[in-house]
Symmetry: C2
Subunit: 354 residues, 2 copies
Amino acid sequence: MKPTLQDVANAVGVSRSTVSNAYSRPDQLSTALRAKILDTAQRLGYPGPNPTARSLRRGFVGAIGVLFTSQLSYAFTDPFAVRFLAGVSEAVEQHGTSLLLVPLPAEHSRVRAAVENAAVDGFCVYCVGDEDWVLSAIRDRGLPYVTTASRADAGPTDRYVGIDERAAARSVAEHVAALGHRRVALLGDAVLPDAPPGPLRLADPSEAPHPTTRGRLTGFADAFAATGVPWPAITVLNASSNSRAAGAAAVATVLAGDHPPTAVLACSDVLALGVLDALAEIGSRLAHPVSVTGFDDIAEAATAGLTTVCQPAEEKGRLAAALLLAPPADPAAGHVLLPTEPVIRTSTRPVTRS
Amino acid sequence: MKPTLQDVANAVGVSRSTVSNAYSRPDQLSTALRAKILDTAQRLGYPGPNPTARSLRRGFVGAIGVLFTSQLSYAFTDPFAVRFLAGVSEAVEQHGTSLLLVPLPAEHSRVRAAVENAAVDGFCVYCVGDEDWVLSAIRDRGLPYVTTASRADAGPTDRYVGIDERAAARSVAEHVAALGHRRVALLGDAVLPDAPPGPLRLADPSEAPHPTTRGRLTGFADAFAATGVPWPAITVLNASSNSRAAGAAAVATVLAGDHPPTAVLACSDVLALGVLDALAEIGSRLAHPVSVTGFDDIAEAATAGLTTVCQPAEEKGRLAAALLLAPPADPAAGHVLLPTEPVIRTSTRPVTRS
DNA sequence: ATACAGTTCTGAATCGATCCAGAAGGGGTG
DNA sequence: CACCCCTTCTGGATCGATTCAGAACTGTAT
C-alpha cells in the first residue's frame, strides 16, 4: 500500500500534524524541517495528502458538478452545450477548481442517487425544464446551484443565468413576419413529451411543458399575432430530439404536403440546419423557397447562412460558474438575463407569391 | 447544519451501522425498519450518505479524471477533443461513474498539485507529448492511467489507445504524392517549442519533440521520400496553436512568397481549414491551385471538402475510458491501435504545371 | 534570574461514513 | 429442552487527513 501521512511522520520522527502542516501550511514549521519532511515523503513514495480525506476534514471538495438533463454523451454532440461547457470550464479553471460531469441516469429513481453521490461543492444545472425532481434532489442535498434558465418558482436566493427566451424568439420572428411570411411552421424538440415527430396540435404555446421551448414558441407566436396571424393558423412541428436528423425528419411530411409553409422557425440551430438539409434533399421540387431560422447562433449557423438569434453561450457558462463559485453579496445579482440579438443571414428571404 | 447518519440513527433509535445499511445494503435489515429509517431520514432532511466520507471509507471515488495538456477551455473548442470526450463520457456514463475534468495549470510546479488533489480513481491523459512530468505525477500518485498515444517508454503494464500516426500520415501523403505534388509544405502546431509561426528549419522530422507531430511529419516525409522528394526539399511550417487562425497565419508568408507549395499537408483538420481560409483570402492571386490535407476528419472537414485521414475519435475516448474502468486481464490488450483511413475529398487535385 | 513574546511542534478530537465480528432474538428440529 | 441456524441489529475500529489549544523551546528585555 501507498504510505500515509502517519508513515511519513514516523519515518521523520515528528507528529502527523507537522507533516500535514508541511503540505498545507508551510508557515507553521521551520523550512529545514519542512524540507526534510518533503524529502523523506518523496523517498517513501508518499503521494501527498489524500484528496478525499482532505475534503472530508475540510468540508469542501474543490469541484463543481455540471448536470445535464440529457445523456452526457449527447451533450458533447450539441454545439451549444459544448460552448456552454467551454465557458464553465474557463471560469472553473481560473478559480482552480475542477469540473465534475455527472451523468444523469434515465430512470427517475436513480437520478436522485446520482445527485447524492456526486462529490462536489455545488451544481450547475444545464437546461433543466420541468425536471423538477433534479432540482429538489439538489436542494435536499443542501448544495448551492445555478440554473441556466429563469424559473417561475425562482426565489430570491435562487441563482440563474438565462436569456429572455420570449423576447429573443420574438425578435427573429418579427424579421420573418416583416418579410411577409404568413404561412409558417414552428419547430421544437420535445414540444410535448412522447409526441411523435411531425405536426402537432397545441391549443396554446403555453401548453408546452419545457420552459425554454415554451418561451420561444410564445415569442414566435407574439410576433405573428401582431401581424394578424392567429395561433391556430400556425403549424407546430415536433422533433424527437435536438439533432439535425430529427429536425429534418420532423419537417419532412409538412414539406411534402399540399401547402408547405413559406417559413420554418426552429427552436435551435441544430434543428434549423436539419430543415435546411431536408430542403436541400427535396431540391427545387417546391413551388416557393422556404425561409428558415434557428436559435443560438452556433458556428455552423454562420457557414450555413442561417438566420438565427445569437445568445452568448460561453458567457452563459462562465457566468453560471462564477455565480456558483462566488455568490454575489446582493442576491438580486444572482439573477442574470443575458442579451440576445437576431442575426439576419441568407436563409430568410421575402415571401414570394406562389 | 445538515444532519448526519448518526442523527438519523438517534432519531430512529438504532445504530449508525443500521442506518448505513439501510442505504447501501438493503438486504441487511428488515424492510419495515428500512422504510422507517428512510422515512425519518427524509423527515430530518438527511441528504443521504456523504459522498466524500463514503469514498474515504470505501477506498474509491467513482470518478475518473481527464487530463488535458492544454487549457480546459481550449479543449472544448477543439472538435477532435470534444469528440474524444464524447466517447469517454459514453463509456463512463454506462459504467455509472462520473467524469472529472481537471484543469492543468500552466506552471510546472502546480501541475503536480492539480494531479495530487484530484479525487479520482484513475486518469485518462489526453494527448500528452513530452510532458512527462504529468505522467510521473500520476505514477507517483499510484493511480491507473491510460494515455491517448503510444509511448516509446510504454511498459507492458501501461495502457494506451492510439493510432499508427506515421502510417496514417503516410497514407494521405501518398495520395498527394500520387497526384504529382513535389513542392509541398507540412504544417503542424508547436513543431518546435517556442518557435515563431511560419517556416521552420528542421534537420529531420524526428527532431520534433511532440510524439504525435513527430509521427505525422515522419509519415508525410516517408511518402515523399518514396517519390524522390528528400526531406530538405520540404517546407515545414509551424503554427502557434492548433486553431484555424493559427493555421492561416502560419501559411500566409509562404503563400505570399515566390515559390508557394502546390500542396500543404497539415497535422490537423483545424489547421488545414485555416490553410483553406488563407487560400480563400488571397483568392486567385496564386498561379496554381493549392491542394490541402488535414488530419482527424472532424465534421467541418466533410462540409469543407477537405481531404484528410479519418481516425475514430469517439471510439478512442470510449476505449480509453473502458480500458481504465475495466483493466483487461491480458496486459497486451491494454495496448490498442485503432485503424485509420485516408478520406479523399475535393481539397486535393492533381498538380498543374505552372 | 524572571517574565514575556514568538516560534515550532504535538496530541487529541474530529470530519461522516463503512465494515466486520459478534450479540440478540426467533424459529425449526430432534 | 437443548441445539443450531438464520435473520436482524450493534459497537468499535477504521479510512487519512485537518484543526486548534496548548506544550516545549528560544531568545530578548527587564
